[in-house]
Amino acid sequence: MATALMPRRWLAAAGTIACVAALTGCSSHKTLYQWESYQSQVYEYFKGESPKEAQIEELERDLQKIKAANGAVPPGYHAQLGLLYSSLGRDDQMVQQFQTEKALFPESATYMDFLLKNAKKEGKQ
């Protein structure tokens, strides 16, 4: 009797675990992107209290983390870096960041091209 009970118990336990897994599957929390500090750095930018160099440092450091983890860079991340480099007059790096944004997200092409074109114009004047 006792030996017959054991497997049944195990079965019930396994069933319960599988069922809980199926239930929690509904609210799966795996994200599409690895966000790191992107949104809080955008907020820092808007507040304008911390130096741009420090913001770049944070974002570049987090970018390494994302790359190391093989994660997906969120939309706008490289564009934000481009904006920061541009505000420091580091135009080569700005162009590079805008082009990376465009390569990762072809949806951004219209806007990135608009910005790159404007940057070129300013550079010529």
């Binding site: 118990r9 019930a12 336990a13 969120p74 939309p75 706008g76 564009a79 219209t110 806007y111």
Partner: protein, 219 residues
């Protein structure tokens, strides 16, 4: 014991499957489905609250839920800077920009117009609550049609059931006072929760999933 658990869980599972993971929807999504936006530009939110930080606190929190829902979100700080360079510095002015112009500059399929009605901490006798409330309207930039509207709220006091009697309430009020006065940005994390409630896909009456989500087309 285990069998009872299993039975309970199986019952719940059946109920969940029957109801579907996403709850029943009562909103008319036909215009949304026809439009199939890929790129969304979120304009700086209008602020109806007394706190000047509301516009940019909220704007900093919208990219996460929209991108996780599967949309490309026009980079928010860069967008704000583009408006600034063109002499548009207030959300009111920016909300007047024509849909054609928004499409032309940002390459966006749809624009999200957000209004923040509550943002900040109100102090009461025994407690203080930080509340953020916002509403939003998604508009197709080609047809001008409204694709979706929604609103959401979040509070720092949610689930904060006070069981400590009068003394407990006094202590809690004191602690909150300190925390709130130290944290000038108390509303910012609350705005994050409100933003997720407002703009996550797969919620009742919420946004539909976008093309970058594996769940695109399933709702």
């Amino acid at each position: 014991m285990m069998m009872r658990l299993l039975r309970l869980c199986a019952g719940l599972l059946i109920a969940t499957l029957a109801a579907g993971c996403a709850q029943t929807k009562t909103v008319d999504y036909s215009a949304f489905k026809q439009s199939r936006p890929r790129t969304i530009v979120v304009l700086p939110p209008l602020n109806e609250s007394p706190d000047v930080k509301a516009t940019y606190g909220m704007l900093s929190q919208v990219t996460y839920p929209l991108a996780e829902a599967g949309y490309y979100v026009v980079p928010v700080a860069l967008m704000d800077e583009t408006f600034r360079l063109n002499g548009l510095t207030t959300p009111g002015d920016i909300h007047q920009v024509s849909p054609q112009k928004l499409r032309e500059i940002f390459g966006a399929d749809a624009a999200l117009y957000v209004t923040v009605s509550q943002y900040g901490t109100s102090y009461m006798v025994f407690s203080s609550a930080t509340v953020v409330t916002a509403g939003a309207k998604l508009v197709d930039l080609k047809s001008g049609a409204t694709l979706w509207t929604g609103s959401a709220s979040a509070s720092s006091e949610e689930g904060n059931v006070n069981a400590g009697g009068l003394i407990g309430m006094l202590i809690s009020a004191a602690v909150h006072q300190i925390v709130s006065s130290v944290q000038d940005d108390a509303a910012y994390p609350v705005a994050g929760i409100a933003g997720q409630r407002l703009l996550s896909a797969g919620r009742n009456s919420g946004l539909l999933y976008g093309p970058r989500s594996p769940k695109y087309g399933t709702d």
